[in-house]
């Protein structure tokens, strides 16, 4: 099916918005969307959600002949499936240009980085070796399939267990799962891909572009790294030229992201292992929430907020602004609005600006200088006079802050 074309109005709006250093969903330039990693009941099955982009990776293995040129190594196959389920413009069967690029990048990330120890997959040199196959299915495409797919593939490889093999002279026994516990694959490191989108000839850069941002971007850079600061993949596409400093800056940003994501993967793997050991319920059934009508779910960002009006606003601008359901999570906090501020987890920096938790001052918003504080206060009063409902209560709260 043909994809809906992007109108000029949307394109101009998004580019202007990015030039003002803002994003449609309220993220910062270097922020990833919410990442969720879940494992299935079968070993080697991993489902990753990056915002609304969803990817499922499944690892399987069988015994076969090793390659002629490499008789001591096993074989790794990587396959990326783009079906119309992910996006109506993807065609089943025929690989589009985008599909080929994705497959190639995933192959490079997993094979050329030598993350998987191929020699351990050899059973009998030159005759029998394990063929490991990673199938990556894209379930929903809302931008940045590549990052999501790399996380899913690595998590699935780390989660997978292959049957144990014992060799006695000429005899090879492949033990069944009941016979002996399956053995994990030996992963040396976890290479992950981080995508950067560039706009206006490289002037503005965003991490983890959403689907609209991807349609508008001029160029893309993919950096594959692991947490040990080793660069595994680097690819730049699009018609633009990048400066050396930009490439270096992107790789240092990629390092922080990769370290954080690797931690998340390990956490998820641990949780799954604990659940299996204790015999608790695990698998994809835990992902489905049974108490909601709609399948869509917007995560609530839990922020410990004080009862100041300011803190409500900072929290809103920190969590994404489209979370209607997260705003319903804010309701209990609003009811507590009291005229006097308590001792709080909110650090007041200047008038009208508060900070919750770590992070410090926002480097984007222009913090008003001393002389313009007066005009800012006047503007605020003027604007409040225009608002109709709930005038009494909000004005009172305002007066507290202005002191």
């Amino acid at each position: 099916m043909r994809e809906t074309p992007l109108s000029n109005c949307e394109r101009e709006f998004i580019l202007n918005f990015i030039a003002q250093q803002k994003r449609l969903d309220g993220r910062n330039a270097y922020d990833y969307r919410d990442l969720r990693i879940a494992f299935g009941v079968s070993l080697g099955c991993c489902h990753v959600e990056l915002g609304k982009t969803r990817v499922l990776a499944q690892v399987s293995c069988e015994v076969g002949e090793p390659k002629q040129t490499r008789p001591h190594d096993g074989v790794l196959y990587v396959n990326v499936e783009l079906s119309p389920m992910a996006c109506p413009s993807f065609e089943q069967g025929r690989q589009s240009e985008e599909g080929i690029e994705l497959s190639r990048l995933m192959e490079r990330c997993l094979k050329e980085s030598r993350c998987l120890d191929m020699e351990s997959l050899c059973i009998v040199s030159g005759e029998k070796a394990w063929h490991v196959r990673v199938d990556i299915h894209v379930l929903n495409h809302e931008g940045n399939i590549l990052d999501c797919a790399s996380i899913a593939a690595i998590s699935a490889l780390a989660h997978f267990r292959r049957p144990d093999v014992s060799v006695h002279g000429e005899e090879i026994t492949i033990h069944t799962l009941e016979d002996r516990n399956p053995v994990p694959l030996s992963l040396h490191h976890m290479p992950l891909l981080v995508s950067f989108a560039f706009f206006s000839q490289g002037k503005f850069m965003l991490v983890d572009p959403s689907s609209k941002e991807e349609k508008v971007m001029e160029g893309k850079m993919v950096v594959g790294m692991n947490k040990h600061r080793e660069l595994c993949t680097l690819q730049v596409t699009g018609q633009m030229l990048l400066l050396k400093e930009q490439v270096l800056r992107c790789s240092s940003i990629a390092l922080t992201k990769v370290t954080k994501i690797t931690e998340l993967i390990h956490e998820a793997l641990d949780k799954d292992k604990q659940a299996r050991l204790k015999g608790e319920k695990h698998g994809f059934a835990m992902l489905v929430s049974g108490d909601r009508v709609t399948a869509n779910r917007l995560p609530t960002t839990e922020v410990k907020v004080d009862t100041l009006e300011i803190s409500d606003e900072m929290e809103r601008s920190q969590s994404s602004s489209e979370d209607g359901e997260s705003q319903s999570g804010n309701e209990p906090m609003e009811e507590q609005i009291v005229a006097t501020p308590k001792e709080s987890a909110v650090e007041i920096l200047t008038k009208g600006v508060g900070v919750i938790g770590e992070g410090g001052t926002s480097t984007w918003l222009d913090i008003p200088q001393a002389d313009s504080k007066q005009t800012a206060a006047k503007k605020r009063k003027h604007k409040l006079e225009k608002m109709e409902e709930d005038e009494g209560s909000s004005e009172e709260e305002e007066k507290v802050i202005l002191k």
Partner: protein, 240 residues
Amino acid sequence: MAAPIGRIVLPGDTFSFEQLQPPDEHKKILLGPGLREEKAEIKVLRPGILRFRKPAVYWIDCHHKRYIPAKGDSVIGIVNQKVGDIFRVDIGSSEQASLSYLSFEGSTKRNRPDVKVGDIVYSKLLVANKDMEPEIVCIDSYGRSSGMGVIRNGGFLFHTSLNLARKLLNPQCTLLKCLGNRFQFEISVGVNGRVWVKAGNDVQTIALVNSVIVSEFKDNDQIKEMCKRISKAVVRMEID
């Protein structure tokens, strides 16, 4: 047994004429979208809630995002191609609609309208049936544009479900009333689920877009609460 008005029905459910007889004994029953008469019974075609309106109108309220063109609908389309004398416009249906360059107010063979590929047009469906490609026009039967035509000067276009678009077009829509009390904005809603919004500045526009998208599954009280909070947030962000 009376028909289950207000209850969920599934495709394949059938009703007899007697079940659908309205209380005040009208002989004619009007079947709206989602219901079809087959031999001696009435079959349900879409999953959803069975609704009834006096005097004798029944229809199924179902949640869908894919637009099926119907004659007379006002839709927002995106111009995709210019082929000779017509524009190919994407309205969200399976076929692209055709828009002749003469279907604009004040356009003649010498005086062509200023429409580029990628522009958005607010238009009406002239021809829409399952056998032909749909045709749209930006002009009414008197030759006046009456608000239709190319939508210019910025703003933001987004896509919602058809149910939300119909809710917004309702004259008593709570969301638009509440937002209108707090913000100054222009909004254009197409029955094909496309909505165009423009407010004073970009931050307000995006706040409005997000509030519309999120209001789909909220009831009126929650919508009023949300509008209050959003307006406070936007005011703070602008002062900062």
